[in-house]
């Protein structure tokens, strides 16, 4: 069964450094998402992306965050200047359409900010 793949599985970065998290969505999917889960807390929506532009973003997704689909397969989340509170598990998801089919999630990238 097709999968969403994320790399790296674990990223350790110094505070203030830039980090790029990578995702390869399922190939025929058109809608892409990033979520994060701080340890012990709920999964929170960050951003949705369709047709090469952001369709919705949360309050968490401030100017330090950006997303890009640099080619036909990758979908990236960049955090420009990381803070300690950015430490979390970041999940990428994709779906075929936006009207109800499930969002399929990757295994996540654990981001640890030191």
């Amino acid at each position: 069964e097709p999968e969403v793949t994320q790399t790296p599985s674990h990223q350790v970065t110094q505070m203030g450094q830039e980090v790029i998290l990578r995702c390869v969505p399922i190939s025929n999917h058109l809608y892409f998402y990033w979520y994060r889960q701080i340890l012990g807390q709920k999964v929170e929506f960050l951003v949705s992306f369709y047709n090469n532009e952001i369709s919705e973003k949360s309050e968490i997704f401030d100017d330090q965050f950006s997303v890009e689909r640099p080619d036909g397969s990758n979908f990236t989340l960049k955090i420009r200047s990381t803070k300690l509170e950015d430490s979390a598990m970041y999940f990428c998801a994709s779906s075929e359409t936006d009207w109800g089919p499930p969002q399929h999630f990757g295994d996540g990238t654990r981001l640890s900010i030191l």
């Binding site: 969403v4 994320q6 809608y31 998402y33 979520y35 709920k42 999964v43 929170e44 929506f45 949705s48 369709s55 919705e56 949360s58 999940f91 998801a93 779906s95 936006d98 009207w99 109800g100 089919p101 499930p102 969002q103 399929h104 999630f105 990757g106 295994d107 996540g108």
Partner: protein, 111 residues
């Protein structure tokens, strides 16, 4: 309570028993989905129920939705040790496809 609150927070049962988890939400929804998360892993989609549906089955899973009470339940029948995981409900609404997740139920199934 916030959108998507599950109860119980934790549930421990023996293999072969049934497990029931509940989810409540506050705003109108388009769909409600249940996901499973094994420790340290991603979210695996289990089942989706639309707002105009009342019950849905998939294998050992049975989901009900009561939009008048803004609640859903997930029943896992004949549980197995491999069902040990956290279970989350997630809702989406009209005009947005972002998922709002609940706090989750940690299920432990003892062999």
């Amino acid at each position: 309570s916030q959108q998507g609150e599950e109860d119980p927070q934790a549930l421990s049962i023996q293999e072969g028993e049934n497990a029931t988890m509940n989810c409540s939400y506050k705003t109108s929804i388009n769909n409600l989905q249940w996901y499973r998360q094994n420790s340290g892993r991603g979210l695996v989609h289990l089942i989706l129920i639309r707002s105009n549906e009342r019950e849905k089955h998939s294998g050992r899973l049975r989901v009900t939705l009561d939009t008048s009470k803004k609640s859903s339940s997930l029943l896992i029948t004949a549980s197995r040790a491999a069902d040990t995981a956290s279970y989350f409900c997630a809702t989406d609404s009209l005009n947005t496809d972002k998922l709002i997740f609940g706090t989750g139920t940690r299920l432990q199934v003892f062999p």
